[in-house]
Symmetry: C2
Subunit: 237 residues, 2 copies
DNA sequence: TAGTGGTCTAGACCACCGT
DNA sequence: CGGTGGTCTAGACCACTAC
């Protein structure tokens, strides 16, 4: 008996099987470390071909619920509650404060691995919330004197988002460090807050495949702009 | 001609194809938004069956490089540079400071959705670095008076890690908020730092499938313990 | 209509694991 | 050895897209 009844809903067989198994995992019928029914067992139970069953299992594997061991079987994963996903894509509301080609201060030169004479492009953006500054960000990129005009660099300099569109994609990745610091200097100035105010500080590094740092960005966030939020990756659906 | 030469290395055909395509994407031969060769085209080029080609493509899709549109083809993704992965699994070095069943203060009761009389288990852990406190964490769980002994609850209370092993896995997920705050009260006391020191604050919530908050943890981190780090998910391999 | 991806099948051979 | 998963094939039918 093919389970065509379930297919009438338009849901492909392999998703039906995957959903069935996922349900049992979430309900606790299968616990972390447990062995799942073998492909053969499932093949019989759902009257599906082996490849279809394997497709279901592959789906669950991709979603992080199970893993397989050749010669042994499929097992339920231990959830990774220590892995969080942080989404920083909402930052499009930042207003440009200024752009300049400058001689970088020591910190920036060091981060980008430049000698002191080399100049960089500095881009400062400020985010407002309720009429008051809530965050500011300084981005730095090596200034290649010569061919590229500042304008081209600026386009590129929206940091990786644009760069990705015009050069080889996936040739970079981004690293970030998160810390808390007291407001001081430029940051306090841009944010119009007293020195000593605790700030959330995000430092991002644009890193090439070969490990070079091609860009550096520091963002200072006032407590008033609310916390960052992150979630454990699983269970979106 | 089957590309058996490439298979001799022990690498399955579908990974060879996937690697080939991935290389071209990373090298910039295929840019974000570009269409990839069709399944049929690849089928011919690699002398493989359609399912094998599809397996390659599925692999790249899982890794986040491409996506497909029925009737149109496969396309190169725009890298998601705004999505970061945060790894918090190194926190096993924290020493237990104390455990107690207490009447929660207002903040905790509100977070957990408890009325004032309900008691909670409080677990305080302190992390040391170079002989000095570098972080402290307070965890709170509703105290179910009755059957469960404190000991059982404590076992459960290592928060989700242990809970996952004994109840239904994947029945919870964790949410987190990250902020910067000035040291004050208990936190300053546990960390032996002056009030006003900027602290990185992580608040984690154990959330059930139905949206209930089953646990709450606040961790205060001194600047001295170094920043949190996160990376853009791709390109691990 | 032709081309594309999405699903599914029934078989095949292999490497791995346990007894 | 028998059972398990891993790879691969050659076909089939479908839905979607574009012309």
């Amino acid at each position: 008996m093919r389970m065509d009844a379930l297919l009438r809903a338009g849901e492909p067989m392999y998703l039906v099987i995957a959903g069935e198994l996922k349900g049992k995992i979430i309900a606790g019928e299968f616990c972390p470390g447990d062995t799942l029914p073998s492909e053969n067992e499932l093949r019989g139970r759902f009257a599906a071909s082996r490849e279809t069953v394997r497709k279901s299992l592959k789906e669950l594997e991709n979603e992080g619920y199970i893993y397989s061991r050749p010669g042994k079987g499929y097992f339920v994963c231990k959830p990774e509650y220590g892995r969080f996903t942080l989404d920083l894509r909402e930052d499009e509301d930042a207003a440009l404060r200024h752009i300049a080609v400058i001689v970088p201060r020591a910190e920036v030169a060091q981060v980008l691995g430049l000698d002191k004479k080399k100049r960089v492009i500095e881009i400062v953006r400020i985010t407002h919330k309720g009429g008051r500054p809530s965050a500011c960000e300084m981005r730095y990129l090596p200034y290649s004197q010569g061919q590229p005009t500042i304008e081209a660099d600026i386009d590129y300099a929206v940091f990786p988002e644009v760069a990705a569109g015009k050069t080889s994609a996936f040739a970079f990745h981004t690293e970030m460090s998160i810390s808390a610091e007291s407001a001081a200097g430029k940051a306090a100035q841009y944010l119009e807050c007293p020195e000593g105010t605790p700030l959330l500080v995000l430092r991002r590094y644009l890193v090439s495949l070969s490990g070079e740092r091609l860009g550096y960005a520091v963002k200072y966030i006032l407590p008033s702009s609310g916390p960052l939020t992150a979630t454990t990756g699983l269970l979106l659906k």
